[in-house]
C-alpha cells in the first residue's frame, strides 16, 4: 500500500514536471518551433494527469485531439506564416511596463487561485468511479446529453466550414 502511494506521488511529480516544463517552454523558447514542440510535451503531461485521475477515455482523447490534430494544425500554421528563418520568432512585447503589469496581474491571480484551492472546504466523496467509464460516457452522450452533443457537432461543422471560407478568400476573388 505504501509502495503504491509512493509510486502515485512519483508519477504525479513526473507529470507535473512535464506539464509545467512544457508550459514554460511555450512562453520562454525564442524559436517558435521549439515552443510548439514543448506544447506537445505539455499536452502529453496533461494526458498523464487524466490517466492518474482514472479518466482513461479523456486521456486517449487528449492524445488524439491535442497532439494529433491541434499541434499538427499549429505546426502547419507556423510553416505557412514563417519568414526567412526561425530564430527569434517568439519574442516578448517591447515595453517593460507592459511586462511588469502582466507579471503582477498573473501573480495576483495565481495567489488567489492557489489560496482557494488549499483553503476552500472541498466536500471530497469517498466513492470509487464506475468501472466502465467509456461505456458510461457514451451512453450519457446518447441519452441525457444528446442535445448538447448534437449542438457540439453542428458547432464543429460550422467552425470548420467557416475556417475554410476565411482562408479561401483570396482564391475566390481572383
Amino acid at each position: 500500500m505504501d509502495g503504491a502511494q509512493t509510486g502515485a506521488y512519483a508519477a504525479f511529480g513526473a507529470m507535473t514536471a512535464l506539464v509545467i516544463g512544457g508550459g514554460l517552454g511555450v512562453v520562454f523558447f525564442r524559436n517558435i518551433f521549439y515552443a510548439a514542440t514543448s506544447m506537445v510535451l505539455c499536452f502529453l503531461g496533461v494526458a498523464g494527469i487524466y490517466f492518474s485521475l482514472q479518466a482513461n477515455f479523456l486521456a486517449v482523447m487528449q492524445v488524439l485531439i491535442y497532439i494529433g490534430a491541434v499541434a499538427i494544425m499549429i505546426v502547419f500554421a507556423i510553416m505557412l506564416t514563417r519568414r526567412s528563418q526561425m530564430v527569434d520568432t517568439n519574442r516578448f512585447v517591447r515595453s517593460l511596463s507592459q511586462l511588469a503589469i502582466a507579471l503582477a496581474a498573473v501573480t495576483c491571480i495565481g495567489i488567489i487561485l492557489i489560496e482557494l484551492a488549499i483553503f476552500a472546504p472541498w466536500q471530497i466523496s469517498g466513492k470509487v468511479p464506475a468501472p466502465d467509464i467509456t461505456r458510461f460516457l457514451g451512453e450519457a452522450m446518447m441519452s441525457r446529453f444528446a442535445i448538447p452533443f448534437e449542438i457540439a457537432a453542428v458547432l464543429l461543422l460550422v467552425a470548420l466550414i467557416g475556417a475554410v471560407m476565411i482562408a479561401l478568400e483570396e482564391v475566390r476573388k481572383s
Binding site: L53, A69, V93, P148, L155, L156, I166
Partner: protein
C-alpha cells in the same frame, strides 16, 4: 492517491503560465498556443472535481469532452484568421494589427 489541492495547484500554475504568455507575446500563433494551455488547465480542474467530488455521475468528464470540441473549433478559426492576416500584412506580429484603432 494524490490529494485534490495538488491537482488544483498544477492547473493553476499552467493557467498562470498560459495567461502570462497570452498577455506578453508578440506572435499571434504563440498567443493561440497559450490560450490552448489555459484551456487545458481548466480541463484538468474539471476532471479533478469529477474524480474527487462527484465520481459516480462523471459530469466533469462530459463537460471536458464538450470543451475539447469547442477548443478544436476555436483553433481552426483562429489559425485561419491568422493565415489571412499574414496574407494581407505579411506578418503575424500583433503590434502591427491596429486597424481598429481610431
Amino acid at each position: 492517491m494524490v490529494a485534490l489541492p495538488c491537482y488544483l495547484g498544477i492547473s493553476t500554475l499552467l493557467f498562470v503560465i498560459g495567461l502570462f504568455g497570452a498577455l506578453t507575446k508578440r506572435n499571434a500563433i504563440v498567443v493561440l498556443m497559450c490560450i490552448e494551455l489555459m484551456l487545458n488547465a481548466v480541463n484538468i480542474n474539471l476532471v479533478t472535481f469529477s474524480r474527487f467530488i462527484d465520481p459516480q455521475a462523471l459530469l466533469g468528464q462530459l463537460f471536458v469532452i464538450f470543451t475539447i470540441a469547442v477548443a478544436a473549433a476555436e483553433v481552426a478559426v483562429g489559425l485561419a484568421i491568422i493565415i489571412v492576416l499574414n496574407r494581407y500584412r505579411d506578418t503575424v506580429n500583433l503590434d502591427d494589427f491596429t486597424w481598429l484603432k481610431g
